[in-house]
């Protein structure tokens, strides 16, 4: 291995790292190793003085490689790469050791933590000497934007962008725009009609000259990368190639089907209905039981499918307020009826929703609490001499009593869940999903609408349950992010892609079917495989598949990773000079 001049920097991160890792010791030990020209430790490497320190050293000591041991590369790798650039060093001649998230924050034994940190630093040290300079491509950003999903979130984002004079392609799976909101009658907490603001929005979107709406269409495949995406879709058969620079995914949610809950008798008892079915009744304006009679007793059951380990662990967040909304509407329609709200916990947390709860509780609504951990309410057919059609057996935990709730109509507040086809869009756009198939944002706090794929944003309920204001907030946030990107004009894309060594590739074509992005094609006359760098997203699977070692996944080459392993598990060669010093 050729000699290189490496600078190693161990960050204290204030006390975050220093309190659990002996940074001085590590810096000292590393300093003794081959190829290490300088090893320092510093309070905050990411701070400007910290970066200047690197830049200064690179110039003074003619460093050709840099290792920083600090937080997760997912946080500051780019920061330090920039520093290298500023010092005139190719930014890929840099490696980061994660000694905060993976060491100081998760371990309690300082000695062991220090050992581990040292291992990670040595690994990075060994690896970095095999790094090669790579150039980033800078490409122009296409000012158009693709928005997947024509619900409240999607349309709001579309309208913002269009108003800013940018082209928008709005693709909606259903035949009409409006999404979930179109299914709702009133909106909580102020109980005004949804259509009063939805319809105008739909009209504005449809009529806007900068927005091209594709209804009844879905997106199967998206190629390209930030600034230059491509896809194909079209209206009534005639396909159209769309090119755009950003993607906003607003595919929304679907509603949980409560049939698995035998105890609620959904499907078996005609008057047990889901919240969405009830919304339909509300919109049609006549609330009737299956026998056509108005209900004398209405029970609303919360948390059907939500906050349940076996179905959805999460809280659907909107049902409680919706239930309160129903209680109010029902009281207004049936002043004399018995209204029973069977809840597990009242989570009316959005703005003005607690007030709605208080208001509702003065309207002769019977709130009954059950403990889902212990037992769920059980809906059963009532006897002929009962004054109601159904009876609900429940254990009411505020009184500790097993009680019977009379009901002619039972409304199940069913959970919201990710779209059935969430995975397809996720794959097309390169979004990661949580276990429950909601999309994962880039950072839960610091980057809530971006995704791990540059240029792709997620808004509204495809990211998790939320109410209309929250969805719109996200939509506008994403729109702002997109506009920022467009006004920047160009974007630099990673080139950590796969590359075929044509001297070695024997044309066995094992790699081709492995690529998820069809980025590898076979060149007949050269009898070698070729990688399309634009399509390649650099997963490296082809690299580990290629039996001849002809494919190198840049920045994650076999050599780089093998040397990382070596460095991690070996003490490392001490400089001759030091050996002499130490003997003396």
């Amino acid at each position: 291995m050729k000699d290189s001049r490496i600078g190693v920097y161990i960050c204290w991160c204030g006390t975050n790292i220093a309190k659990m890792v002996d940074v001085e010791k590590i810096a000292e030990d590393i300093g003794r190793l081959e190829n290490v020209v300088i090893a320092r430790n510093y309070k905050y490497m990411c701070s400007d003085p910290g970066q200047d320190l690197i830049i200064k050293d690179i110039k003074e000591h003619e460093l050709d490689r840099v290792v920083v041991a600090a937080c997760s590369p997912r946080i500051h790798e780019l920061t330090f790469r920039k520093a290298l650039e500023n010092a005139g060093l190719n930014q890929y001649l840099f490696e980061m050791a994660n000694i905060r998230e993976h060491v100081s924050w998760v371990h309690t034994d300082r000695e062991e933590a220090t050992k581990k940190a040292a291992d990670l630093v040595r690994a990075a040290l060994k690896r970095v000497s095999y790094h090669e300079p790579l150039d980033k491509l800078s490409v122009a950003i296409n000012p158009a934007t693709l928005i997947v999903g024509g619900g409240v979130a999607g349309m709001s984002a579309a309208f913002r962008l269009a108003e800013a004079g940018k082209k928008v392609y709005l693709v909606e799976k259903e035949a009409d725009l409006g999404g979930q909101a179109a299914r709702l009658d009133l909106s909580f907490p102020y109980l005004n009609t949804v259509s009063s603001f939805l319809q105008p929005l739909i009209r504005k979107v449809k009529e806007h000259k900068n927005i091209k709406v594709f209804t009844g269409q879905s997106i199967s495949e998206i190629t390209g990368y930030v600034g230059n995406f491509k896809t194909t879709t079209g209206i009534n058969g005639k396909l159209e190639d769309l090119e755009f620079g950003h993607i906003i995914v607003a595919t929304g949610l679907s509603n949980y089907d409560p049939s698995p809950f035998k105890n609620y008798g959904y499907g078996r008892l005609p008057d047990v209905i889901t919240s969405i079915e009830f919304e339909k009744m509300l919109r049609s304006g006549n609330i009737k039981c299956s026998d056509g009679k108005p209900p004398r007793h209405i029970a609303i059951i919360h948390c059907v499918g939500s906050r349940n380990e076996n179905i959805h662990e999460y809280c659907s967040r909107t049902c409680c307020a919706t239930a309160l909304k129903y209680a109010n509407q029902l009281r207004a329609t049936f002043p004399g009826a018995g209204i029973y709200d069977l809840y597990a916990d009242m989570r009316a947390f959005s703005k003005a929703c607690e007030e709605l709860y208080t208001k509702t509780s003065t309207k002769d609504v019977m709130f009954l609490m059950f403990d889902p951990e212990r037992s769920l309410p059980e809906v059963k057919q009532a006897g002929w001499k009962d004054e109601c059609n159904m009876l609900i057996d429940m254990h009411e935990i505020l009184s500790g009593e097993n009680v019977e709730v009379p009901a002619d109509m039972v409304i199940l507040m069913t959970a919201v869940e990710a779209q059935k086809d969430a995975k397809d869009i996720a794959h097309a756009a390169g979004i990661s999903m949580c276990g429950n198939h909601f999309y994962i944002e880039k950072h839960p706090k610091l980057d809530p609408v971006a995704t791990t794929t540059d240029g792709v944003f997620i808004v509204g309920t495809c990211q998790g349950p939320k109410d209309i204001p929250e969805s719109i907030t996200q939509a506008w946030a994403a729109a702002a992010r997109v506009l920022a990107g467009i006004s920047r004009g160009t974007v630099t894309v990673e080139v950590t892609t796969a590359v075929v060594n044509e001297e070695i590739c024997c044309g066995c074509q094992t790699c081709i079917s492995v690529c998820p992005y069809t980025a590898i094609s076979f060149n007949e006359e050269k009898n070698v495989s070729e990688v399309n760098e634009v399509l390649c997203k650099g997963c490296g699977t082809c690299g580990s598949t290629c039996p001849t070692g002809a494919i190198r996944s840049r920045h994650f080459t076999d050599m780089q990773i093998l040397s990382q392993i070596e460095g991690m598990l070996n003490e490392g060669k001490v400089k001759e000079t030091h050996k002499i010093l130490e003997e003396a």
Partner: protein
Amino acid sequence: MNNRIDTTLKADLKKFGLQSWNDCFHCGNCTALCPLTEDANLFPRNSIRTMQMGLKDKLMSGVDPWLCYYCGECSDTCPRDANPGEVMMTLRRYLTSLYDWTGLSKKFYTSKVWELGAILLLGGMVVLAFALFFPTINPELTADGGVRINSIMPLQWIEWADWTMGIIVAGLLISNLMRMYYKIAFGAGAVRIPLALYFKEAWQLAFHFSTQWKFSKCDGKRYWLWHWLLMSGYTIMFILIMVFLPWFQTEEIFEVWHPQRLLGYYATFGLLFGLTAVIIGRIRKSNAKFKFSHVSDWLFIVMLFLTVLTGILVHFFRIYGMPMATYYLYVAHLAVLVPMIMIEVPFSKWSHLAYRPFAIYFANLRKAAMKYHEKTEISLATT
């Protein structure tokens, strides 16, 4: 038993003075500070929740409302101003009406017309009685210059009237108590009570009745004192009149230290003191328990007060030999006393003097019975 949620009950309770039924959202403050709370029994929350859910059977078979002396702590500290104390008070009224088989109790509680009407009717009957029987008024004084009180009507007759009244009242009270007992002992969540326990726990009755022991556990000892004075005064007077009338209502005027007069004075003082305290309280609304006054509350106090007042006046007039005043006031005295006894004791507020100690008695019986069953179960398990 029927444990179906019933939203109509609260409407019913409104008539008994229920203000708001669902202000309480069960934070548990009241339970935390009420001295009557026991780990088994979330006092007074449990009753409130039962009321809210309209579980009538459970209410009837419970004794909780009777255990509460309305110290008012809960109402003072309730963050929602749900006024638990008053709810308990209302429940007591409601229960009283449930125990009463005649149904009059409900009428009196829920309609002023009925209550006032009944009072006037009875009062009128008393006056009428005097008028009709044309009493032989003998204005001449006794040797020591006192009024010949018994000359207005033979003491015999009064005594007979007393007895009949006592029997009626007792009959009503006892029959209602039986109903109460039935509900509690065989109602919801009833436990089989071995006979022996009834006797073992019997002393509770006397003890609690005479000492108001549980009340003394509540904060604010002075309320307990007033209540105790009032109660003891009333009881003594009640017994004197009902049982020892000939000994008590004599024409001869004894020395001041004579037990007849001492007892009389004590009773009067107790009543007077207790009453004034309560009246002032209710007027000033000085404490939660006085904040809300149901008609029945006022009526009772006023009548009792009038009775005491007239009684006192009668006493002095006769001592200082003022025949006519004595006679007229005596009639007035009885005209208030009779309806008060006849209505308040069996049907209304005053009945609690019977229900409460019994409730406590039953409550203890139940507890004892449970312990007993546990023990036997354990012994069964071990053998």
